[in-house]
Amino acid sequence: MYPPSLVVTFTKKSSVKMAKLTSLFVISLSFFCISEAVFEDQVGKFDWRQQYVGKTLFAHFESNTQSSKKMFVATDKNIFASFNSRTGDLLWRHVDKTGPEGSIDILLLHGQDALMVVGDGRLLRSWDTNIGGLNWEAVLDTGSFQAACFVAIQDTVKLVAVLKKAALSLHYLSNGHQKWVENLPDSDAVQYQAVYSGGEEEVYVLGVVPNSHLTIIAYSLEDGEIIKQSLDLEVSPGFQPVLVSSQPHPARSPLSEFFLQLGPDHHVLLQLNADGYTIAPLRDFQPAFLVSFATTGKKTVAAVMTPKNETVMLRHSCDPNPRWLSPLSFPLQACAINLFSVDSGRRLLDTTVLFPLELNGGKPHALYVHAFLKKDDSVGYRVLVQTQDHALTFIQQPGRVVWTREEALADVVTMEMVDLPLTGTQAELEGEFGKKADGLFPMVLKRLSSQVTLLQAWLAHLWKLFYEARKPRGQVKNEVTIETLSRDEFNLQKMMVMVTASGKLFGIDSKSGSILWKHYLENVQPNAAFKLIVQRTTAHFPHPPQCTLLIKDKDTGLATLHVFNPIFGRKSHIALPALPRPILQSLLLPVIDQDYAKVLLLVDDQYKVTAFPSTKNVLQQLQEMASSIFFYLIRSDQGNLSGFRLRKDLSTERIWEVVLPTEVQKIVAVKGKRPNEHVHSQGRVMGDRSVLYKYLNPNLLAVVTESTDTHPERAFVGVFLVDGVTGRIIHEAVQRKARGPVHFVHSENWVVYEYWNTKSRRNEFSVLELFEGTELYNSTVFSSLDRPHLPQVLQQTYIFPSPITTMEATLTEKGITSRHLLVGLPSGAILSLPKMFLDPRRPEVVTEHSREENLIPYAPEMPIRTEWFINYNQTVARVKGIYTAPSGLESTCLVVAYGLDIYQTRVYPSKQFDVLKDDYDYVLISSVLFALFFATMISKRLAQVKLLNRAWR
């Protein structure tokens, strides 16, 4: 079922000469065109970047001396990175492929070498930890990875053993060459789980036969011969112990002491006696959240994290039932970490470290201890604590937090930018206008007093400027705190509210990038869907701003609402509606209640609507305007688009349905227009000075489909423009021999999409523009129900020299500024592409009219100019999304690119036409003005004298 295509693409070059001419023209045009690049002295002035690595899976410290500064982490984002342990700064970082192909299975550290198994046992890599360079890489045989360990021959580590599901292989540490590989016996029945070498001539492999017994095989180091096979340990069903043991050096046998976890916060330190058969308990830790071993020199210590609260300890000791001991069941203030001697189980004195728990933070999740010998031969240590919200905290004795990294920000799901509130004085001045008059005299007095306070504030500001101007630039550091936050002159500083996949919310100051508040939502499923809605902005002064986060659990379908103040991050205590049924979608109405909060409608799986807030006032308003409220739902799995109309009793009726058969194509994405988008010009001026009016349908949806058939000859990409109210298909464009992923932007009267052309094997941009024609059908109101004429659709396609990862359009306050497309490239660059280049009216042959219209002649190749990169060398790894927000200046658009890193900057698509340049020479201009003024005065005087003299002659 291929819909008929109305597409005309101009991808043919008319002739070589023409192309040359046009390229010349484009080049000459580019000189007059926008130059986006920043100057050297502007680097970091308006932009900042933060780099993250993700949730830590493995962490190692460089060496066991007090002065060592390096630590290494491998994360779930397939990143291997090194931190400076003094500051928490990133020293270097290696970003591997996303997905299982680049996943890090294990990280082992020995001396200067870091060994890593990547991609479920696909590759074995060795890194030089000093500079982060790759020593070697070896491809391993297929098979899923189980375990790996270092193997030592005569006290030096020379080999590494990798255990796969069905094979064991040994590799040289120096070059990665394989020494031998042996198949494991009975690999179908036995689950091999561990590999171990104790410095002897043997490698041991441990396997478990489920519900039966353990098996241990010893291999000879020399040739991989099976030396002995023991099948003697029986296990009972349901045996799931968690064992924490430590082997300080691969050349020696492990410690005979180990931890056994009995409950969520119950650990026992046990010792295996010398005879190898009896186990003696050394110490019982209850409650103890986390335990870890650390070795320095010849000493090995055990670090144990316990809750600090005394009363909790008491309650636990009287309560014998371990099921009650969940660490989440009571609020904690802090945790204490203590060191214990492993030999005896005794506590070491003066080793307590306090770990303060934040009120809205996560609970501790993992503990990495860096122990070292102090000068007096006692054991000192620093500890890296990972909490459930993926934050890493590095603590020094006695409880000083050295640094904290919020690694949850490596996975931002959605974000919004909220205006900052006015300062107290500004708010007072604003409030003056709202009040009723209480006499002329008091009002005058009040006005005078507020003017005086404003003057004071201004003088203080001037003084501060003067004071800071004397300091060198590097030293000036504005401390931003929540209390001092206020809107600046041009509303360029905003609060970035970021929602991360781990369920942690952040409030980040857009100017400095500092985290001003964080709030961890517990019990958020890892695959939950989020939708962030700003219900009330800061414009309604006595009422605080209000954001609502809709969290939908994908498994149960049930949704919860988290309502909070976006400036302070505090949860609002508002009566939330009961949501017993799974929620399908939400819809924010422009209707406001008496507290100026916009009304949010939640649609459940029976197509019933719940309003939030649902006061009487709101319900009444909803009843009045129910007939003009529509919503649409798209079920990608059924290929179904359906539209609904709201009834007065808050139920709905289905009014249209479009089915795209799922056997042919599947719906990939849908985008409407942004509700805060303003279009200043209703049409385009032609060369003959007539107007081509834009088709600005606020209810238009762009639906993108991809074919299920992925064969290069038959694959296609479809773009449907559907009216969301009536379900009418306004236009359909099908790109044959094209494949996704399709990235697209839908704004004003145009849709720009990017796809992979399977025939020509290149990326292509295509632009669709909709025009109403030279006459407007109805210039005062727009109703989708009364639009008899279909718009004229123009389309052009261009070749783009790079694949892209995301795309967004700039947004300004009034929509006067020309638009740019912000394109995230896989290289980490963000390209600001003028929309002018993506204009379907670009002519093939230049005429008088097209020149008058400033249309660039059509050229199939879209250029990428390096000065269009808005982030110069501050690459953003794995850009996932770009968020644009208008500022108070019409020329300026705020941009946040997020992915693994977060990058914030400003863009000026039409240059800064409404503000003096950053490097404007005030001194020169004012001195010239003053000089001219005085020159005029003096010359006037001289002329007078001269006249007088002449008169006397």
Binding site: R635, V691, N699, K946, L947
Partner: protein, 240 residues
């Protein structure tokens, strides 16, 4: 007429000449300032002065004379009234003359008017006035052609002048009628005069039109179109 011009120049020149010695800007400035004062044939002054400046030797027709070139930096200055041209002692002796305006004569002027030719002269003079605007039209056409249709400062200035002169003339019609009072064909002349001015302004409007300054196209009103009001509220999306 010429002494009026000279009069006007005298009042304005000194300070200018001090600072803009021999520069073309002084000419422009002069031209503009005189233009502002009275409606006079400005080009002539420019030419006069330019000639004056081109010959600083002092032969400048009595209106310009050299000063002591040793100590003073100025090379020349305008000495326009006769009184100033004389020395100091001269002035004291002739103190009685100062009381009378320039050109005053004690002797009565004999009446030499001749009726018949005078009438014709008045008639001729009045037709000159009436046909003045029409005579300017070919000149204006030439200027229009020369200035082109690009929008820049000089064409705009030309157009403004072209538009402003007829309007001003039409506004001061009563004064013109007073001039034509003595003529027999006063009404016809008035009509011709106003038609000439109207034609002049029509020409200016045509020039504006061809330069694209008139809001005659729909695109000129595009900025004033308000975005249409939205009748339906719509939202939704993929099932979460």
């Amino acid at each position: 007429m010429s002494d009026r011009i000279v009069d006007g120049v005298r009042k304005h020149t000194p300070s200018i000449l001090l600072f803009f010695d021999e520069s073309p800007f002084s000419l422009l400035w002069l031209w503009l300032s005189t233009e502002k004062r009275k409606q006079i044939k400005s080009e002539k002054i420019g030419i006069i002065l330019y000639i004056a400046m081109a010959s600083p030797g002092g032969q400048g027709g009595g209106a310009v004379s050299t000063r002591g070139a040793g100590a003073r930096r100025m090379k020349w200055a305008l000495e326009l009234s006769l009184g100033n041209a004389r020395g100091r002692g001269d002035r004291q002796s002739n103190q009685g003359d100062v009381m009378y305006p320039i050109g005053y004569s004690d002797k009565p002027v004999p009446d030499t008017s001749i009726q018949e030719t005078d009438k014709n002269l008045v008639e001729k003079r009045c037709w000159d006035v009436a046909l003045g605007p029409l005579k300017q039209i070919p000149m204006n056409l030439f200027i229009m052609y020369m200035s082109g249709n690009t929008i820049s400062i000089f064409p705009i200035m030309m157009v403004c002048m072209m538009a402003w002169r007829p309007i001003q003339a039409l506004m001061s019609m009563s004064a013109t009628f007073k001039l034509l009072e003595n003529s027999n064909q006063q009404w016809l002349q008035g009509l011709v005069y106003s038609v000439g001015n109207l034609l002049g302004s029509a020409l200016a409007i045509y020039k504006c039109q061809s330069m694209g300054l008139l809001p005659t196209h729909s695109s000129d009103w595009l900025a004033f179109i308000e975005p249409p009001q939205r009748m339906e509220i719509m939202g939704g999306g993929m099932v979460l």
